[in-house]
Every structure is written in structure tokens, then in C-alpha cells.
Symmetry: C3
Subunit: 669 residues, 3 copies
């Protein structure tokens, strides 16, 4: 979605205030150059304190104050946190999960399939929409909040699962065969025998339930979207704050939502990105998660939540809040919305601090926001709606991710898939090569010079055939261990591995182990093999790396292949990023994949370079210093103006970046 | 409570004996100089094998044998372990906790609010009291055992909680506002909607339930005390064995009991202190936990349980049992009672060994008890009822402790509060400075030259104002990070931090983080910052220590202030004990707080010095060697007699302490 | 059981195949020299897809194909995995355990005492037996699979436990006294009060329930055996695949089954042995677990399951599958059956790979099986039915094992008993001394020159008296800490420790601790004390090792004694294997226990030597190279023929072993 102006602001909760400060807060926001607040998304019990009793006092106050101070408003539907009265009247609203029966207390504890929940959710959504739809400064709506299925396993949800399976497998025998239920006597011989899914030892079954749960999320958002669409004006957007695999911060692809499917429910993709800070601020999460967000609808996206001060360990060093804000824009975001304006005085997120600390003073964070907001008022038009055209795409896929949870690697955790994805994404980021992250959609392949499939474990034959065709036609494919090993139901393919792709890759294997004391080496970059190792046997492929190990040295670790008009690179194990970067560099040279415009490469990480085309068709070049040291680089692009300082920077000029600093060149054409 | 004679003995269980040894055991006790047994406290099912069927055979045997051998008896009410028949007849007696429904088996598994439990408990208490009250050698009664609420969350207990809240907040809206229930839609709009507290994400709510559970303990002990008081003679005491935060040994303030409130139910405070042994015997637990016990009623206390041999890892080195016994007395205890006489042959505490091992032989532990008991027969009158007058007090507080559980520091465990308390207490101990531990009671402040508040997170305004006045009037205050941050309901104060105290402290802050690679230095004592760090900004205060860190070095870590007639010291982070001791030393000099009598300081830890005034008004000086090496010190006090050896020690004489040895000087006036 | 031919093969599941391969697979097996398949053991839901509906199609296919290809068949009863229809019709079939209510999904999740389960299990067993009993190539039956009680704690099972206790203790008072239920008010004063056992804090009670659960296993197998015996021919065997304490591989004595008692249900002992591979392949598990298996019925045993490729971390180096196969035979096994033929394409064991990988190619593992199978066709008659006569026996005991779970050592896990057993067994193995592992049966003692009791915690007086007599009569006894400490109900003996044995051992103790910074030294082999240390006081014994520690050096760590005609060695703590081996070596010299025939000792570990007598009465000598290096040894035995190569090896010839290689000498007499 293109925006008129960059959106800058914070979530605001009049409901949580210890005393009336609404005018003071709006005044502070305006002073900081902010222009938007996001409200209402967790306040069902305030809006409807008893069934059928509605109280929009806080809403009214916020709408009025925002109007008075010229702030725009995003309205969130309040359905992700249910009121006490609803649970008292219908305890079945609370989900039963793999962990048992939920109790009241946390948000997101309900069964999103429960008809009573849906009934009351619809009432409050409609009441709210009716109330706000005509407010001119309401620019859009957020559906619910970070929606998931919350692992609902209620009998009701499981009965829907039976219908879902019946629909896919009208013949029960096909279901038994595809899922291998003969194993350990797990056959389901009549639909009535369908067992509780929670304790299954059949990974195909477990994974299918996860897929079904993701479908529930899509259905739920679609249902909400349809309701909201009945009310909204054409100029108002619908969004959802998609989030990411959570490692105490945003890490990678969200396992519990098929964001590509769910995106049809929204008119613009929104995202919540939280990330390490202080010495650990690297730009990696903003890049990988931002690229996922940009890929959801393949256009500019909104940052609906990110940290200002955030958790104690994230207290930003001076300059970091500003660096972060520009990093989002450099990646294609059109907004930075903090969660949240003020630090809350009660409950679980009290130490997840906002722009203001608990004392409401104009602290360091607020002061840095003022810098950002006022810079954006000045130069926002030049940097909004940044268009990107990348030649390389990483394919992100929920089924593969689930596959690696169900059949883990040596590090027996649930994070292997995103670890592999991040291994590649972070290496590209450190090489200052921009990339897209896209779904496993055959139609997208031809947009790219190079497709990268990290641990694409669970793969449909049709997609594998499309990849084969893509390479035949001159595409370049990079893929890793644990790719194309099983079909879309985690049934392992029973012929040569990697299934179908072995032809394009020119290699095969039937043995694998966890590496122990195994090293790999490429052009003097030596590192230890980890996670998984496949004993590759090259057919037509050229071995690039062998395993260094007394028993396994007969096998190949990395090989490349020329297949018809295209090239492939296969990584049979995981290893250090420096080794990977050396391999990628040579592979890109071989495939003649131009580093985008060659402009950026006088800068090396920790100076990150991001680029794009602005609304004026001008080339915009960001230099982002992810370090505590001053960095100096040379402008190897053309003559330019540095937008923030409005100073000329001629070709071959030296550019100095403060610690955690940023410069933005607009190239003169 | 003053005693006629030091109480020395053990818990005795005729019920658990594999064969009849009662006469033999009493004879052994007498030979060891013991004079008291504690009986009956866990034997409900033996006393009342079926409902209404009473059998006092074992009790009779023990009372008779004790009388015959001249031993006194402490009777424990048997209510902390319920009999099988009660649970069969009324399964609801078993508590439901945060972890779910309790099963029969462990002690302390019942709902102490359950009326059926209370009904039957009252019956057995009255029967028992009736039976023993006239026995002349019964000197006192112990209520129950290490009483807690055992985390009862039964519907019955939770319904009492609703009443408790109604009582505090007649207006539900006040409750919602103070507890911030608008957050995440947690509002309670009618009393009927009051939800199960167990899964709450509202820390104010969770903490209030913990406070309520502590109130249940006070109520329960008061109820028992009133029953017992109906029977007891004026010469008999009522006690309770208060215990401590448990880290496989007694560590610090007990989180589950408000011992200051509960103390009103007893006539003398008792305590259970268990501690590391062997190389890890330090005197720290005996000091900190003993000081807490002494502060419960601000007088001499009883050690009702401590280890003789104890757990396998506690097997004492030669001399340690004796050192421990004297350490308790040096701290103000009037008794040492071992848990227990004999090592049990079945069940969970079989390896928690007593004075005798399982083979009942006269082993090393028994032999060392003989030394102790016979020394005390000789010198007990000189060392009993030791009076202490300390100038420094540490304030210990359950609400603050709960606050740090609910909002943890970087080490995300439940022990942060006591870790901070112990950091200070252990430093004072190693400086050979004695101190009291007192409740947060305004009236006590003026008794002390210096008040120390470790991590006083949750603080009423009235107490903070009293502290402000205390300093204004010339008092000296030391406090740490995470002090006065929230009110008594864990609602964070919404103005300058630390709330109210910032005036006396002469500083404020609104930023904090977990320290990472941050050091602090004071007078060449450098150490690493840990747990928490606040970015202090000095107003009138003098910075003493800055953070050593590239980004945070602009902020102060430790500052002192002169405020009207008093001084303050604020510790914005945690660090090494040596750095702390250097700071404390200078602060005490600045405040002109005399080290008590200056007598002790020729000795340095691991020689610990403790002192007090005995019943004769004489100054008693203990030297306790907490090390495996011989230690030699100089008597810098006046001419004295060493009580154990009955030898003269003149001023400036050298005193030699054996490994784990002890000497006691009575100063001639 | 003696066999006609070595049994070589794999479990086969036509049910799990993605497509029809049965003829191809049988042809591959025959080519590999395999002769047996094991079928049917987990396929109840395939055999009886609905109650009373039977479908033996797969069975028919496998029986017919096996007959056509000359393969024998072992039939497993399918009762360890219940079908969905049974759970739907009778949810009570699923066990309630210490962890709560089981759900459907895993195998071995049922209550084996449940009458509905037993009723339907009997029906399918009888139908199956009826169907297969007359097939000439069915050579035997396996009862169920790795049978346990699966921790059933259902009300039904617990009611059986009450009966079991009533039977042992008709007088409830005796039960209370022996189990010490007076402690913590746990008395059971009427049978109706018998509480749920799951939360007990009484280890005697908990351990007795474990013993009762083991009895359930014996009862269950006996019940199945009786049914099967009604059908089977005299030439057909009945077996059970006994397994071992599981540490991600087979580690030691199985805690949940009394295999000695259960063995009466079978005509030949079978075992499942899985073990580490690659660099960690040591021969230790094959030896210890194999020795347990051989001892179950004191004769040759069957390996019914072992890994071919197995889990990813077990992928064998070249040569290891063959070394493993010979190692089993060298230990007295008469079969090697892989689990399983093909790698499964769905569900939890998909990565537990078989002879063939998922692609069914003739991979490295298959090729190595071909070598093995064809060697055995050639030389099998010389190496089958190997007879062993060992002079040393280790006593393995479930009650002792349970005792060390209930009262753990310093390493507070459930594995202490087997850790001590393995400490001794692995030391003997590394000394190339073969040994038996036997039950605590008085009648077996006289078969051995030396009896070793590792951590024989829970011991009946009658057995201790028998041991005393054994030593008096010239036997030699080695035992360790934590021996003879409690009776058979975990009631600690209340007199001199070790109970009864202290006379033969010539020492006693009443103190023990966890060692911390304690070393022991014997003949320059110094190592750290661990797990437990007893403060030994020698009466008549000779101290061999003292504790090296400032406080404990007065106590003995290891002592030997001469008692009447025998000798004893007592190990009061655990320490390094090298120190133990030095002690054992000297003790065996002292006792004049000849190393078996002295033949083997030119070889030292990692070359393992195993021996026995074959059907021709010839001495067979195995040399097994458990290392990645070539090893060369000298034949210090007589002139011989190396069976695999059929080459002569004369006395004093050098023998070269490839990495992971094996040679077998048949000594010419």
C-alpha cells in the first residue's frame, strides 16, 4: 500500500492511564512529529463491560483528542482478549490445548472456533465499527491482534478437523495409507474412531493438525475482514499485525499462521518486529522479518508494533531508536508505530516500556523520537513508498517448518527451520545483498534470477517439478540438506533423494547423520559441520566441499551442478557463515547474478546498504551503521544529496557515519 | 522470652522406633546434657487412628520416660499432616493449588481454610491439650509445623479471597483502577465475574493473592493459638517454628508467611535453621535467619529445629556441630533443638539424619553433642538470654519480596529479593558488624542509626514519608535499586522514581536495564554489575561510582546524599561484596556510626565476632572460627575470662581458635 | 536354546510399505544370507480393523512370500498397541499413570490389568495363533513387545495392589510397622483408608508399588504364554524381547521388569540391544546387556532387535555393522535380527532406519549385511550355540535398583544403580575378563569363584546370610557402598552396617556423605571420589585406600578382608575405572581367580577378546577391534584356524585386525 505520508506514532491506551493526561500526551506526540495512534485493540471489557452494555467513553476521548491535535487513528478490533463476563457465562470459550484446559487470565486463551465466542465477537466488532466508521481521521482497521489458533484442541475444533480431513480424503483408506496409520496400530477404520489428535505419534497427523490450525487463523481473519468491510470507507485500510517465530524477539517465519493465505483478508500487510538491542542490534531481524512482511502482499508494509524502550535488556543506546526507524523504511516499511506510548503501571507488560517511562517525563527515548519525527516531516516524501526489485528470493514455507519441528535436527528444538533460513538470510544481509522472501508459489519463480530453498523438507511434487523446469530454463537454485525429503503430508518420498530435484542437483544420497567432529573448508574458510549432514554422492554435480573426517571423507558436503540452462548449489550440511558467504559469492559470479547495481559494495557490514526507488523515481541509498564505532565509506555511486543533512555528496566523497548512525543518498540522475 | 536454662535437645518420635528404646534414648540424652524433647507434631494418625478413636500410648510413654529422666517436653499440635481416614471421608480436604489437585501422601497438602479440616483439627488439638496440659514438665506448645497456606486455591479459599477484596475495595471500580484491570480486558465489572486467580497475568492480582494466603497463615495460627491458650498454664509458652526461604537450606525471608503479623499468635518466636556444612559452613545463615527470628518478637528466640548430622552433604566435620550450637546462642537464641534424635528407617527423611545414625550407635555426632551439653550445664547461665542492641537494621518485607518474584531481575528466578538482602547482610556479617532485621514499621525507625532497605520494591507512601522524615531528623538510610518503585499493590508509581525517597536520596532515574559487560569500581575494588542497573541522575547527591561502559558511563551507579540532618546511600546496581564493603565502611564513617564498641575488630572474618549483655549485665564476646585453619587473634577488649576453659584472658593477650573452634570472653567490668 | 542355524534377519512390515515390494524384499534378504523375518507384533488394528472383523491379508502375503523364498518366520502377538475402536468403545483401557490420564496415540499406553483390554487381547491372540500355528516355517512366537506395566495406576490396578498387600501383610499393623507409616501421619488404619499411591512420600510404599507393577508384567506374560502354548507345536519357541534401562540406548538392568521372574513365561530369552555407534561404539552395551540376556535363562539367547542403520547419530562407519553382529555371537547370542528391514515413511520411527533406507536402494548397510549373512552361511555351524563358563558373576537386582532411585546418590538421577553396575562391568570388559550377570538367588552362588554385588541396597536377610556362608566356604565377594543398607521393603536396617555382611567384610560405618574434593589412590592410579562415600572403620579388614581429604582422611575408602576361607573387597565410594581395575587385578590375584585360560591377554582393549566352546567342543576365540585403528596382536593360544578366512594361525603368529574388524580362532586341540 502506498501512503500519502509516512505513518509515525504509537499505540495509545486512555484506558490504562493512572490519571487524565490525554491532552498532554497528544501535545507531546505532535511535538515529536508523530501523526498516528493505534487504539482499542485489547479493550473489549472496557467497551462492553457487561453483555450488551456498551461504553465508548475512552474511545470518544481518544477520537476527539486525536482530532483536536491532528492525529490519525488506527482502530483495532478488541477480540483477542475476552471479558470476564463472557467466560463466566460460557466457560467453554476457553480453549483446551495440548497442555490441557486454559484458565481465565491471559489474552489469546480462547477457542477461536467457539460459536459463543464468535457470536459475541461479532457483536462488539459491529458496535465498534458503527461507532467509528465515519470519523474522518480513522485511516484504517487492524483485525484482532497477532492472531493465532492458540493451539485450540477443543472437541469442537477437533470435530471441525474431522470434517477437514473428510474433505481432503473422502476415502478413509486413502487417509490411512497416505498418513501411514498402519504403523503402531493407529489405523482409523471408521470416522467414528477418529482419535484425539493431541497425543499422536504420527508426525503426518500432528503436522496436518497444525496446518488445520493455520487454516483456522485464515478463516477467522477472513470472517472479521468481511464484517469490517461492510462498514469501512474506501479510503480506509484493513490490516493485521502479523508477527514472527518468537525467540524473546522476532526471529523468523511464524509457525502458527500461513501469512500468505491470511493476507487475502487484509488490504495492507502489517507486522510486529521486536529485536535485540544494545550491543546485539544487528539489523538482521528488521531485514529478515521485514522481508517476510514485504513479501506477504509483495508491496510496502506497515510496522504496527516495534519497541521504543521495550524490555529492560533492550534499553537503546543513544542513536539506536533512530537507526531502527530508518532501517524499517530502508526495508520497505511505510510506518513505524511503537508499542506503546506510555509504560504501563500494572500487569505483565509493565516492563515492556513505551516512548515514555512510567514517570511520563520527556526522557531520552522521547527526545530521540522528536528527532525522527521532525526529520520525517521534512524528508518523508522522499523516502516513503520505497520500491524494491530484488533478483534473489528465499522461499519460506510453513509445511517445511513444521516438518523440521516434527523431525528435528541434532539441535533438538523447534527452531531448526528458521535457523537454516536465518543462516542464509543473515549471510546475504552481511554481504549487503538484498533479497525477497516469498511463498512456495510456482508462478513467482520466474521473477528471480536465483531461488533459495532453505530446508524445504515437505514439498509437493508439482512445486518440485516447477523448480526443475525453472532451472532447466536458466534459473539458478540454491538449496540445503533436508530438502524435498517428504511430501506435503510429511510422508517421506520412497525413491531417490532429494525427490525430483536430484536431477537438477546432479546428486543423491541415502545416508545422513548428526555431524560430530566434522569440518568443511572452502577457499580457506573452515568451519564445523552442524545440525545435519547428508552423505552426498555426485552424479553430474561437481563437488565443491568434502567432509573432513576419517570415515566420511568419501562423501561430498557441497556440490554445484549445471543443469540445462541453469545452475544449482546444494548444501548438504550446515556450517559457518563465512564459509557460506565464500560459496555464495562464487556461485553468484558463476551464475552472473549482478550484485544489485554494484553501488553498495564499498561498504561492508556492519555498515548495511539498502536501496530502492522512491515516488519520484529516484534511486535512494541507505547507509546504516550497526556498530558503536564511527564508520567511513566512499560514495561509489553517482553524485547525490544526503537527504537528512540536505548536503551534496559527490561521487568518491567520503561519508562518515556516527555510531548507530544513518545517511541517505538520493542519487541525481 | 527469657529462659531459666538454655534449652538443649531434639525432636523425639517413639512412634517411628523400630523397637522399644525409650529408656535407652533418654539415658543417652541425659548423658549428653540434653534437657528437652519436642514431640507429637506430626502424629495425628497415631493419636487418632480413626475418627473419634484416640490412642495416646506413645505420648504417655514419652511423657513418662521424660519425667523419669528429668527431661522437659515441648508438645506440637499434629495438624500439619492429615490422617488417611480424613481424606477418605472428605477428599475436599486436599488443596487445589496453582499446580492442580493435591493427592494424599505428603504432609501440608491440605486446604487450611477447609471447614472439615478445621473441625477435625480442633478436635485433636483439644483432646491433646486436655491430655497433656497438667504435665508439669511440659514447658510449651508448638502450633502446627512450619505453617503455610500450601498455595491453597480451592474454590472455597478463592471465595474467601473475594470477600477479602470486597473488604478492602468496597467499590469495585476502585479495585479495577488500582489493579489496572483494563489492561488486556481483565476488568471485573461485577463481583460475580471474579475469575480464577491462578492464571492471572496481572501481577498486582497475583501478589494480592499471595498476601491473602499469608493472611490465611496468620489467621490459622491465631485460631490454633486461641485454642491452645484455653488450656495452657501461665508458665507454658506457645511458639511456632518459623522457617525461611528454602534453597535446599534456610536462605532468607520466608515468602509465604508474614512472620511479623503471625508472631502475635505466639509467646516466643521459634525458628528452623538449616544451613550448608563442611567447607560451606559460613555462619551466614545462622546470622541472617537468626536475626530475622530475633526480630520477629524483638527478643531472644528458640531454635526449634536445626541439623545435627542432617542430609548427606551436611555431614559435619569434627567441631562443626559445636561451633553451630554456640553460633546460635551468640546470635540470641536460647535453645538448640536438633531435628531429630534418631535417623528414621523409612520414608522421605531417612537420609536427614539425627543425633544418632540408623544403627543407634554412639557416633561422632552424639559424642560432640555430649561436649556441648555438658559445657552448657557448666556455663549456660552466663550465656543464656543474651541481650543485643544494634545500631543498624535491615528492613525485611514480604510485599517487596513478592514484587521481585512478580517482576524479576536479570536472573529470572524467584530469589532476587533475598539475594539482595543476603548481599547486604553477608557483607555486614563479614565486616563483623551486627545488625537487626526488622519489619517495615514506621515506629521502629528511630531505634536505629542506620536503616537499610534492600530492593524495597513495593512501598506504601506512608512508610516512604516516614523514611523521609527519619533521614531529615538525622537518620541514615541505605537503599538499593528497585526501591519504592511500586505501591503496596504493585502498581508502579507514576512520577519521579524512587517515589518520595528521591528527595532524600538526591537523585532520580527513569531508565534501567540488565547490565552486560558493565563494571563498577570503588577505591580499587572493581566488580561486575549484575541483576539490574538504574541510570541514576544526581540532583543533590554526590556520585560515588559511575558505570564503566561505553554507552552508560554518563550515568551514576552509586551516590550518597546529605539530606537535612541525615545521610543516604543509594546502590543503583548489584556488584561484588568487596566493593560493597568498601562503600559501607566509608558510609558508616561518614555517618559516624560506631562499630559496636570497637572491641571486635582485631578479628576479621572467617573469625566472626558476636556480642551481647548477659543476665548479669556482663559483656559477652564470642569468637567463632568458620574455617578449617587455626586462627589467632588479639583480645583488644578488656581483661576477661574465657568461659569454656574458665581461663583468664587479659587485654592484648593472644587467643587461639582451633579449626571450627569457639571462645567466649566475659569482660570484667 | 540351541539353534540349528544362526538366525539372521529383520522385522518385516508389509503393512507399512508404500507399494508392493514383498517379492523384491524377500529376494534381497535371501541374497544377503538372511533366513528369518519377524512379523505382526504391532498390527492389531490391521488384523482386526473393527471389533470381531479380522483381516489377515498382510499376514498371508508375508507367510506365503517367506515360504516361497525359504525364510523362517517369528510371529509377534500384536497386543502392545491397541486399535482406535477399542479405545473408543472403552476409554478406560487407557492407563492412568503418575503423570495422569493417557490419551490415544502412543503404543503401550493401556492398563494391562484392564479386563476389557485383556478380553479383546485374548481374542486377537487366539485368532492369530489359530491362523499361523500350522505354518511349517513359523519357528516361534514373541509375546507382545518390550512389555512393561506402563506405570498403570488406574483405580483397578491400585485395587489389585491392595489385594497384593493384603496377601503379604494379612495384619495391617505389620504393614504399618514395616513400612513406617507412622511417619508424617501416613498410617493406614483400615483397608478402606488405603490411599492413592501416586503421591506417596514413603519410599517403601513407592518401591513396593514398583515391585507390584513388575509382578503385573510377569503375570501378563505368563497369561499370554499360556494362551500361545495351547496352540504352538513342540518345535516352536516362545520368547519375549526383553530390553534394558534406556539412556537413548540400552544401558543396564531394566527397572520395570523382573526378567528373571518373567523368563518362566518363555522358552528362550530374547533381547533388544541398541547402542551408541560411530566413535562411541565400544562393545560395552553388547557385553553388559548381552550378559544380562544370557543370564535370564542361563543359556544362549536371541537378539530380536538391534540397529542396522538406526537413528541418525548411529549411522555406522564401514565395518561396524559386521563387528556388531559378531560381537553378539561372541557373547552367546544365536541370532541377530535387525529392527527393521525398511525405513518407515511415516510416524515417529521414520528416522530409526532399517537395513534399507527410505529409497529402498541397496545401500552401504545392505551391502554389509550381505557380507555377514554369507559368512554365516559358511561358518555358522562353528560359531552358533557358543557355551560360556565364567568364574565371576555380577548380581543384578531390581529391588536394589529401585532403592537407589528412591534414595539417590549425589548425582540425583534415576540411574545410579546401573551406573555402579556398569562401572564394574565395563572395567571387567576392558580387562578382557568375561563374567555372568545373575539374579540374587542363593543357589547360584556356589557356581562362581567370585560374586560381585554392585550397590546391593535392598537385601533380604536370608540372602545376606547366604553370602556370609558363601565367603566362609571360600567364596570371594566384592561389594560396594550402599550395599545391604535396607531390607527388601527399603526399611533401613537398624544395626551395624552393612547389615550382616559387615562380619565377612570386617568393617562397618555409620557416617556417609557426598564426596567433594576427595581423591583416592591405589598404586598410582589416582581418581576423584564421586556419588557417595562411606566413612569406613576397619574391624578385621585391611585398608587398601584412604580418603585423601583434610577432614575425612581418618576413614578408609576401600578395604579387603580374609574371612574364614574366603576374601572380600569393599568399595566405600565410586572412583575412576583405572583405579578400580588396579584393585580388581590385585584382588583376583589374591583370590587366585585365574583369568579364563590366560589365552586372551596378549590383547588389550580396544581389542576385546571373547571365548567359548562350540557344538563340536572346540575352543572359539574372538578378537573384536573396537577402534578406528588397525590393531595387531599375537596369538598366544594354540595353533588355530581363523574361521572367516579359513587360514591357519599358528601359536605366536601375529594377527592383524582392520579398523572395526573381527577375527575368530578355532583352536586345534
Amino acid at each position: 500500500m502506498k501512503v500519502q505520508n509516512l505513518i509515525y506514532g504509537a499505540a495509545y491506551y486512555d484506558e490504562y492511564m493512572p490519571y487524565d493526561r490525554i491532552e498532554k500526551d497528544m501535545e507531546l506526540m505532535v511535538r515529536a512529529g508523530m501523526n498516528t495512534i493505534r487504539i482499542a485493540e485489547s479493550t473489549w471489557s472496557t467497551l462492553e463491560p457487561q453483555e450488551g452494555v456498551f461504553d465508548f467513553t475512552h474511545l470518544r476521548r481518544m477520537l476527539d483528542a486525536a482530532k483536536k491535535y491532528g492525529l490519525n487513528v488506527i482502530i483495532g478490533t478488541p477480540t483477542y482478549a475476552v471479558p470476564t463476563w463472557l467466560v463466566r457465562k460460557c466457560p467453554e470459550v476457553l480453549a483446551i490445548t495440548h497442555g490441557g484446559q486454559n484458565l481465565y487470565g491471559p489474552r489469546q486463551n480462547m477457542d477461536i472456533t467457539n460459536p459463543v465466542y464468535l457470536h459475541h465477537a461479532e457483536i462488539i466488532i459491529r458496535k465498534l465499527m458503527e461507532y467509528v466508521k465515519d470519523e474522518p481521521h480513522v485511516i484504517g482497521f487492524q483485525l484482532d491482534n497477532e492472531t493465532k489458533s492458540y493451539d485450540t484442541c477443543t472437541p469442537y475444533a477437533q470435530s471441525k478437523f474431522v470434517e477437514y480431513i473428510k474433505d481432503k480424503f473422502p476415502n478413509l483408506e486413502d487417509f490411512n495409507h497416505e498418513f501411514g496409520f498402519d504403523y503402531w496400530s493407529n489405523r482409523i477404520n471408521t470416522w467414528e474412531d477418529f482419535p484425539d489428535v493431541r497425543a499422536t505419534i504420527n508426525q503426518s497427523f500432528a503436522a496436518e493438525y497444525r496446518k488445520f490450525q493455520r487454516q483456522l487463523v485464515t478463516d477467522f481473519l477472513t470472517w472479521q475482514s468481511n464484517i469490517v468491510a461492510e462498514y469501512k470507507r474506501p479510503d480506509q485500510f484493513i490490516t493485521q499485525n502479523f508477527d514472527f517465530e518468537w525467540h524473546d524477539y522476532s526471529y523468523g517465519l511464524q509457525p502458527e499462521v500461513d501469512q500468505y493465505a491470511a493476507s487475502k483478508a487484509v488490504t495492507v500487510a502489517g507486522a510486529d518486529i521486536y529485536h535485540p538491542s544494545q550491543e546485539h542490534l544487528s539489523g538482521q531481524e528488521i531485514t529478515t522479518c521485514g522481508n517476510i512482511a514485504r513479501g506477504i502482499k509483495n508491496e510496502n508494509y506497515l510496522i504496527l508494533e516495534t519497541q521504543c524502550q521495550g524490555n529492560p535488556e533492550w534499553l537503546p543506546y543513544p542513536g539506536q531508536i533512530r537507526l531502527q526507524a530508518y532501517s524499517h523504511l530502508a526495508n520497505g516499511a511505510n510506518s513505524v508505530m511503537y508499542w506503546h506510548w506510555h509504560s504501563i503501571h500494572n500487569a505483565i507488560e509493565s516492563y515492556w516500556k513505551g516512548v515514555l517511562s512510567h514517570d511520563f517525563s520527556e526522557g531520552e527515548a522521547y527526545k530521540e523520537c522528536c528527532v525522527i519525527g521532525n526529520e520525517w516531516k521534512r524528508i518523508g516524501d522522499k523516502i516513503k513508498n520505497l520500491r524494491k526489485t530484488n533478483k534473489i528470493a528465499i522461499v519460506a514455507n510453513n509445511e517445511a517448518l513444521t516438518g523440521l519441528i516434527q523431525f528435528p535436527t541434532a539441535t533438538k528444538d523447534a527452531h531448526a527451520y528458521n535457523r537454516v533460513l536465518r543462516w542464509i538470510a543473515d549471510s546475504l544481509f552481511e554481504m549487503n545483498i538484498e533479497f525477497d522472501i516469498i511463498p512456495a508459489n510456482e508462478n513467482l519463480l520466474s521473477n528471480y534470477d536465483c531461488i533459495i530453498l532453505p530446508a524445504f523438507y515437505s514439498a509437493k511434487e508439482s512445486y518440485l517439478n516447477a523448480l526443475d523446469t525453472y532451472v532447466s530454463n536458466g534459473g539458478n537454485l540454491i538449496t540445503t540438506f533436508k530438502t524435498a525429503f517428504s511430501d506435503e503430508h510429511l510422508k517421506i518420498y520412497h525413491n531417490t533423494q532429494p525427490h525430483i530435484l536430484h536431477k537438477a542437483l546432479g546428486l543423491h544420497y541415502d545416508q545422513f547423520t548428526y555431524p560430530e567432529n566434522v569440518t568443511v573448508n572452502y577457499k580457506d574458510e573452515t568451519s564445523e559441520a552442524s545440525e545435519w549432514m547428508e552423505m552426498l554422492l555426485c552424479d553430474s554435480a561437481t563437488p565443491l566441499v568434502h567432509y573432513e573426517h576419517h570415515a566420511w571423507d568419501r562423501y561430498t558436503a557441497v556440490a554445484q551442478n549445471h543443469y540445462s540452462k541453469g545452475h544449482t548449489l546444494y548444501l548438504g550440511t550446515m556450517f559457518g557463515k563465512n564459509t557460506l558467504k565464500a560459496l555464495l559469492k562464487d556461485f553468484f559470479l558463476l551464475c552472473d547474478i549482478n550484485e544489485p547495481d554494484k553501488l553498495s559494495f564499498s561498504a561492508t557490514y556492519p555498515v548495511s546498504v539498502k536501496q530502492g526507488i522512491n515516488d519520484d523515481g529516484k534511486h535512494i541509498l541507505y547507509f546504516l551503521n550497526y556498530s558503536k564505532k564511527i564508520q567511513t565509506i566512499t560514495n561509489t555511486s553517482g553524485d547525490a544529496v544526503e537527504l537528512i543533512s540536505n548536503e551534496n555528496v559527490f561521487r568518491n566523497d567520503r561519508i562518515t557515519l556516527e555510531p548507530w548512525g544513518v545517511k541517505i543518498l538520493e542519487i541525481r540522475v
